[in-house]
Every structure is written in structure tokens, then in C-alpha cells.
Amino acid sequence: MPQTAAILLKDLRFGWRKNLPEVLHIADLEVPRGERIFIGGASGSGKSTLLALLAGVNLPTQGEVRVLGEAINRLSGARRDHFRSDHIGFVFQLFNLIPYLSVLENVTLPCRFSHLRRQKAIEAGGDLQTEAMRLLTHLDMAHESLIHRPVTELSVGQQQRVATARALIGAPEIIIADEPTSALDSDMRQAFLRLLFQECDDTGSTLLFVSHDRQLASLFERHIALDEINQADQEGQ
């Protein structure tokens, strides 16, 4: 059986509301499994919007979004939410963590919503806590003093590493990172990316990395400029 692409977009169109201009029009985009992709583009060009479409949080007005071979735009809302929790891990820009949960609870959060990732995590580590600790150790976040601190007291870089462990737990096929490094200084940025790459390689995950920091683009296997592949009229912007 030939491996289906991680992501396949066909003639995708999206506008936030009927009376607003179209934000995205992408004729064709394919991302093979295991690839590390950098998605660049100006602010407001629709990068986050594209990620929301890939995650099945928003639906395209037209066209097809295939993730791991599944046409998620044809799934029901509940199935899409389920699909997302099973197969996609997220890291966002800032304040990624649920303030009232501990570090470990934040890391294992996806396992509350996805049975599949829960099982994979338990298979990998023996139990959820051990697996979470293993990931945190890889990210150099497993110190006793850090683990038991309220997440709101962690530094931005530490928060990003906890969020990364959360995205990675249960080895989802796709990791989506929306400007995860924009709040980090350049040294931390490099270190963070190294860790992220290593983890994705270990699990064979596909990485979609959004940023407007072009310097980072060279570190990735492939580089997509959203402004170039997006055919939507941007004159209103």
C-alpha cells in the first residue's frame, strides 16, 4: 500500500465570512510524510488560517483538505475534533499552557481527549507519567524544581518546551507549530529547533512550522512562501 501524503490540498478556498474577501486560495499543495516544512509569509497573509483548516477547526468554503489520506472537510465536527486529537500535535506562539494544570498534566492533556495517543504514550513509556517525563527529559525540562512549579511561573522558553512535549506525546503523525519561537532570543531559538527536529525524527512525524523569521527557513528541508502559492486577491488587505 503506497503511503498517503501527510497533507494534500486541492483547489482550496477559504473566506472568514461571506461578505469578507477570500483569505486563501491554494490550487495544489502536497506534503509527504516525515518532511519538515517551513511556511513563511507576511503578517495577515493567512498562515494561521491555513493551519486552522489543516486542523479541521475551520472548514474550506471550497476544495478538499486531505490529512493522512482522510478528507477531513467531509467529516462531522465531532469526528474532525477527534481526528485532530489523534493525529496532530500543536505548539503555539505564547502562553500555550493551561494555567490551572501542573506541568505533567499539561503534557498529558491530549491523552484526555485521544484514546489513540493515550495508548501510544503508554506503549512507549509504560504509563503516561513516565512517557511525559521521558519527553521532558529530552527537552531538558525534567528537573524536580521545574516539574512542580505552577506553569505560569515558568519562563517563556520553558513554557515552549512543555508545550512541545505536549505536542509530541503519543507520537502524532503531524506536528504543527505556529510561530513557537517568536518570543525566544536567537540562541534559544536554535536550541529549541534542534530539540524539535530531533523529536520529530525519532517519531517520524511531519513538521509544519510557521514563522515570518526567514533566517530559520534554511534549517528546513522545504520552504513554502504562502504569498506565492496563495492565489486569493489580497487587494483588500
Partner: protein, 419 residues
């Protein structure tokens, strides 16, 4: 369940505000339950102010009026009953016992009631309870008195105390029967009825202190000392009212009709149970007003919860977006936020019950001894469960408001981070 444990943790994270909401809900719920319990018990005890008495008889007037002055010692009789009429019915074939009542005098604001020893034998209140003595015994001589519990407590009287009876009712009566003091020989146990506020003396005592009085005035020059009065005939010429116990309840209406149709004197016989019910219904408005106020207090508590939940919602949009990104459905978000309100109110209700029962445990002996009102500490009644159910349901409905808003936010925001 995963979402409810999140809700608990989120509440714990905001434990100071959540604690304040809990306190207000717990207080209002326990207040509501306490008012309900007091209402039911006071209605109960009111309906049992007098029991075992089949008829109350007085001069013809309104039945509520008769009940008020004969049982509650409120207001005055318009007329007396002649001793002859009383005797006639006291010796009636169907009548088992009677208790004569003679009112009109007072002691420091407490009504003085002339009666005979049958009062201690036959008078019943509550669940057919007889009067019991805390100290001493029933009166035996003309100048003896038996005090209700409140009279003794408020005035600090003991057995052996000499008391002076004032002519007429009211605290400010200036004419005293100070030539004929009465000796306290007994103090009753609390009953929670007007008996507690009554000074009981023999009918002969009432007669004796009025021997030198004619038409409500002490007749100058006609001084009769306490000892001299004892020599005279002390059978009263009239009494205020009397209570009747029948040999068989079946005869109640027959005897009632006979008394009401009595030719020689206009009399009125009433069934105390019926009159008590009428009286309570008249007071029902106040009772309901109290209940409405406490229901509103609970409502205010829930509105407080709504305010806090809604106010906190906007700053939680990021949290919602994160939850959505890890696979939470909008329905989960609804459940999370509504669940928080529901948890708050359920814990609040539980705390309210705890508060109620600790209050009851502490207050029950005091209330019982001071007001004679027995508040049971049993499990909540059906009505109380229904009240709790209604509080729970309203909090669920109120909790759905922020829940629905969060649901709308999570639909429109998706994973985008607002704020």
C-alpha cells in the same frame, strides 16, 4: 470524567473567588432550608397549640376573637359566661371534663388566668402532651400561683416567691391587688404555647381579690383583708370561657349545636382545630413573604456566581483555544464552563446542608428550651429535597449561560488566540 476533573482544577485555581461564591451559596441555601424548617415546625406547633380539647366556649362573638383571648391571651372577651350556664354544660351527659377560664388581670404584662385543678389534669398541647412541672406542684390554696416557663424565666421567679396581681391587662396597670399577694407554688416546663406566658391561679383567688371591688373599682371603705376574704363564698358568678372534652368525638357537632342554640345566654362553641387553621391562614401572607425573600437570597447568590463566571470568560478564550487544539470539542467547552457552575452550586448546596445541620445541632436545645419549638434533625423532607433540586436545576440553567457563551467563543475563535 476528564472534563469535570478539569473543571474542578480550574475552580481550585480560582479558589478565592470560588470560595466566596461557595460561601454565598452555602449561606443562602442553609438560610432557605432553615426558614422552610422553621415554617413547617412553627405551623405544626401552632396547629398543636392546644390539643385534646373538643370545644372552646365563650360569650357570643367571632370565633377567631374567642380563640385569641381564650387560648392566645390576646385581646379581651366582650362578655362573660354566667357560672350557671357553665355548670349546666359541665354536668352535661356527653361531657367528660371542662376547664373554666377566667381572664382580666395581669402580672407585669403577663396575663393572669383563673382556672381549677382540672387544667393540670386535662389540658393538652402539641402531640397530646400534658402540662408538666419543672418545679413545685399545682396550686392547692386560694392564694397560690403556678407560672408558665417564660414568666418565671423573664422575671427570675422561683417557687416560694410572692407576687402581686395588677387589675386589668397591660404592663402599665396602676391599680394593684397588693393587699392579697399570691405565693408561687409551681413552675411549668416550656410548652412553646401561650401557657408559657401565663400566670395560673385558682378561680377562687380571682374571686377573692375582687371581693371588695364592684364594677371594676375598689369600693372605698369596703376593705376586705386576705384572711377575711377566705371566709366568704368564693364561687365565681361568671367566667370568661371554658374548654370542653367530650366522652366521644362523635358528639362534637351535637354538643356544639346545643351550646350555640342555648336560649338562656348567647354562647359560642368553636372547634379549636378549625379556628387555628383559619388563624394560620390569615398569617400565611407573612409566612409566604418570608419564603419569597429567602428564595430571592438564593437567587442573588446564583446571580453572583453568574457574574463571576461571565466576567472571567473573556480572559479564558486562550485556554479554550488550547483545549480545542488538543482535541476538545465545542461541547466539551460548554461542559467545562457549565460544569464549573454546577460543581460550585452542588458543593455550595452540600455546604449549606452542613451549615444547616450544625446550626440545628447547636440551636436545637436553645430553641426548644426558650421557645418550646422542637426542630427535628432528621434527613431532609420531601419538600426540602424538592427545594434543593430546584436550586440545583436553576444553577444548571444559570450555568448554561456562561457555558453557551464559551461555546460560541470556541466556535468562532477556533484555535486562534484572542487577547
Amino acid at each position: 470524567m476528564a472534563i469535570l476533573s478539569l473543571a474542578l482544577k480550574s475552580l481550585f485555581n480560582r479558589r478565592y473567588t470560588a470560595g466566596l461564591i461557595l460561601i454565598s451559596i452555602a449561606l443562602s441555601v442553609s438560610l432557605l432550608l432553615a426558614v422552610e424548617r422553621l415554617r413547617v415546625e412553627s405551623r405544626n406547633s401552632f396547629a398543636h397549640t392546644i390539643s385534646g380539647t373538643d370545644l372552646v366556649v365563650g360569650a357570643r362573638s367571632g370565633s377567631i376573637n374567642l380563640l385569641l383571648y381564650s387560648i392566645f391571651r390576646i385581646g379581651d372577651a366582650t362578655n362573660n359566661i354566667s357560672w350557671k350556664s357553665y355548670k349546666k354544660f359541665a354536668e352535661h351527659d356527653l361531657v367528660k371534663w371542662t376547664i373554666p377560664i377566667s381572664l382580666g388581670d395581669s402580672h407585669k404584662g403577663y396575663r393572669v388566668m383563673g382556672t381549677n385543678q382540672d387544667y393540670f389534669r386535662y389540658y393538652k398541647y402539641g402531640n397530646k402532651n400534658s402540662l408538666a412541672f419543672n418545679q413545685g406542684q399545682p396550686f392547692e390554696q386560694v392564694y397560690h400561683a403556678v407560672l408558665g416557663q417564660e414568666v418565671a424565666r423573664e422575671l427570675g421567679y422561683q417557687v416560694g416567691e410572692k407576687i402581686i396581681i395588677a387589675h386589668g391587662a397591660g404592663k402599665t396597670s396602676f391599680t394593684m391587688h397588693d393587699d392579697k399577694p399570691f405565693e408561687v407554688v409551681g413552675i411549668l416546663e416550656p410548652t412553646g404555647t401561650p401557657v408559657d406566658r401565663t400566670v395560673h391561679v385558682p378561680l377562687e383567688g380571682i374571686e377573692a381579690i375582687h371581693k371588695d371591688w364592684i364594677g371594676g373599682r375598689q369600693v372605698a371603705g369596703l376593705k376586705i383583708s386576705a384572711e377575711e376574704a377566705l371566709e366568704k363564698n368564693l364561687t365565681p358568678k361568671a367566667i370568661t370561657a371554658f374548654l370542653v372534652g367530650l366522652k366521644s368525638k362523635i358528639a362534637t357537632f351535637r354538643v356544639q349545636r346545643e351550646i350555640n342554640d342555648y336560649r338562656k345566654e348567647p354562647l359560642l362553641a368553636i372547634l379549636p382545630g378549625v379556628a387555628l387553621q383559619q388563624l394560620w391562614d390569615m398569617m400565611g401572607v407573612a409566612e409566604n413573604a418570608l419564603l419569597v425573600v429567602t428564595v430571592l437570597v438564593v437567587f442573588v447568590g446564583l446571580i453572583g456566581m453568574l457574574t463571576v463566571m461571565l466576567a472571567g470568560l473573556n480572559e479564558r478564550r486562550r485556554e479554550m483555544a488550547i483545549l480545542r487544539s488538543v482535541g476538545a470539542r465545542p461541547a466539551h467547552i460548554l461542559l467545562l464552563v457549565t460544569g464549573e457552575s454546577l460543581l460550585l452550586s452542588l458543593i455550595g448546596i452540600a455546604l449549606g446542608l452542613l451549615l444547616l445541620y450544625s446550626g440545628l445541632l447547636l440551636g436545637q436545645p436553645v430553641i426548644e428550651s426558650r421557645y418550646g419549638l422542637h426542630l427535628p434533625i432528621g434527613i431532609p423532607s420531601m419538600r426540602e429535597w424538592i427545594i434543593l433540586g430546584l436550586v440545583g436545576t436553576s444553577s444548571l440553567i444559570i450555568g448554561l449561560i456562561p457555558g453557551y457563551r464559551a461555546y460560541r467563543y470556541s466556535l468562532s475563535d477556533g484555535m486562534s488566540m484572542r487577547i
